[in-house]
Symmetry: C2
Subunit: 359 residues, 2 copies
């Protein structure tokens, strides 16, 4: 008998939630039923799935004990508030927020890179998907590690506004339209300064050591997924692009590397497409080229002659797909492949239940 | 008697030419007369200078033997065609193009950094101003070299469209307006792909080694101005911003560096303003903040813990000012300070004239 799953998407009306629903349909994920959950302001909104019209519900209106798989597409505050509750009800959660990513009991997974960590299950009932910059970066470093171990990577990002939510998209649109229409400047609300025709070199709060939350996440997540001590020096910058994150990567390796070898190993990793070869006239990928594409595109691969063993390259990928929703759905597919009952990934409640006897 | 100079601006109607005229007026440069030179299509256009209306002329209509100082604001093809002609007439040329920058007989000058090289004059009658990314980068590296020698810098740029000329500004404007107005995509002409709400990781042609012309220029010019063998690994990226170039810099040094020391030495270089100190809540500069500002702004200074002695920082500056026109005018000011007759900077013609006897 074919397994089909009762699913909930928490944060269904946001960029990642909406994209998750779309990708579940595209990939013909074995869905038995879908519940869409969002904040009170969105309750009652309609979204379509396989020719059905679904209504958005409030968290408190849903009986999670009947749901097997939850895609959590909200932020950290909501993750803290809701995720443990639903795992206690037996749900398996694929979490897009950063709240649990660095917890040693929570697998942080890119299926093409470290899907094998799922063989141990998920002790808390939670599997996290990495940051939208970290995911494509990790994929390239994993591929290149087949030539030589990455030692240090200097990364600068060009991140689109969709990574900051639906209201961020509106902010770029409204500000740009007003500027070009002669309506003057519309005040920044989501971003710390005007984003229209500007770039902002700060994403998230600046921490005590001068790096931002976003930059810290990326460094830590790369090391966790790759089980590596590779050093990442990253500057995260928001650019006035709607969808698609890019980054320049200058990576130093522990041994020799060549452009041709890099091209081969990158192409060999599922989910990566290499566009660039010198004899191909310098093809390269920009955000608008990769919008709605599943693959992570690598181009402008070249030797970095400023170090002994170095490569520089350019990554472009759809931050809402591989950077978020697609990777989440692929994690769920990988879990199902390993244990169609998903029991392996449910919270291990027995000990907790025993303790409950003493409450 | 106060010296005043007969001046010509070649390429007067372009972004840099227009800005040069404006800055000559702002800084009260000792001008006796101004000739504005541009291509046939612009001849007859009017531009204002100190309440005078000046008409744009064609190159062939001007007697350069009566002109002392030429600001050349065109590209390489025109530089090759015209500059030697005017130096033969005795003109001293401040050249914004890249054509002569790496010629060992042509001083490449940022007055705050290496104005002293002008004490030897200019044997070809030409002084070049560096690339608009190289100039601010060099200023920061020069300042930081007072703490420790820079060994290697990994740089990623966020370059505005104004660096590509007036038609590039129009292209961004028209494409953006059409997209947001529902008019669809307007084909790219100046840039290799759509620039509106996109970023393009290629500036100039891609050379045989995989780096672009723009990237190569920057590496070479940094070394020439600093008389240093610092290695520069740079990725140049065009962003949909009208004015203002930014870059992230991760610099490794030969000795220890601290954020506080970096702040002090950067602030001590004329022409740099440091915005950032941790205790100041993370102030930072974006392109719209630095538009029409003379200073190069440095912010987000932080230790780079991925190397032993490293700093990461963010530069923002007006590419049309310090990156082009302002530096050119400052070069002229520095020449006048050293030799008001400018004879020191005229082409050394005697040998050539002698040879001419045998022609």
């Amino acid at each position: 008998m074919k397994h089909e799953y009762s699913i909930a998407i928490i944060g269904a009306t946001g960029n990642a939630g909406h994209k998750t629903l779309q990708i579940l349909e595209e990939r013909n994920f074995p869905v038995f039923s879908v519940h869409l959950v969002a904040s009170a302001g969105s309750v009652g909104k309609e979204m379509s799935f396989r020719n059905h019209t679904l209504k958005v519900q409030h968290f408190s209106d849903i009986d999670f004990s009947g749901i097997r798989l939850v895609f959590f597409c909200g932020g950290n505050a909501l993750a803290q508030q809701y995720i443990c509750d639903v795992t206690k009800k037996g749900c398996v959660v694929v979490d897009k927020s950063s709240y649990f990513r660095l917890d040693p009991k929570v697998p942080l997974v890119i299926p093409e890179v470290n899907g094998d960590v799922l063989q141990k299950g998920a002790p808390l009932g939670i599997v996290s998907t990495p940051n939208c910059v970290a995911t494509p970066l990790i994929m390239t470093l994993e591929a290149l590690s087949h030539i030589a171990s990455p030692k240090r990577a200097v990364v600068s990002t060009y991140q689109s506004v969709s990574g900051a939510g639906r209201r961020a998209i509106d902010e770029l649109y409204i500000q740009t339209k007003s500027l070009l229409g002669g309506g003057g400047t519309v005040a920044a609300e989501i971003f710390p300064k005007r984003i229209a025709h500007n770039v902002i070199p700060v994403i998230g709060d600046i921490l005590g050591n001068g790096i931002t939350e976003e930059e810290e996440k990326i460094s830590f997540e790369v090391c966790k997924v790759l089980k590596s001590d590779v050093k990442i020096a990253v500057t995260c910058v928001r650019v006035p692009v709607f969808i698609g994150h890019c980054m320049s990567v200058a990576c130093e390796f522990k041994g020799p590397v060549s452009e041709n070898d890099a091209f081969e190993v990158l192409e060999n990793l599922d989910g990566i497409i290499c566009l660039d070869r010198r004899d191909n006239g310098g093809v390269f990928a920009t955000p608008i080229d990769v919008q709605n594409e599943d693959a992570v595109y690598v181009s402008r691969i070249r030797r970095d002659h400023s170090v002994k063993n170095g490569l520089i390259y350019w990554i472009a990928s759809d931050n809402l797909r591989k950077g978020a929703a697609l990777n989440s759905v692929q994690i769920a597919e990988e879990m199902i492949r390993r244990d169609p009952s998903l029991a392996l990934f449910q919270r291990r409640n027995r000990l907790l239940s025993k303790h409950a006897l003493f409450r």
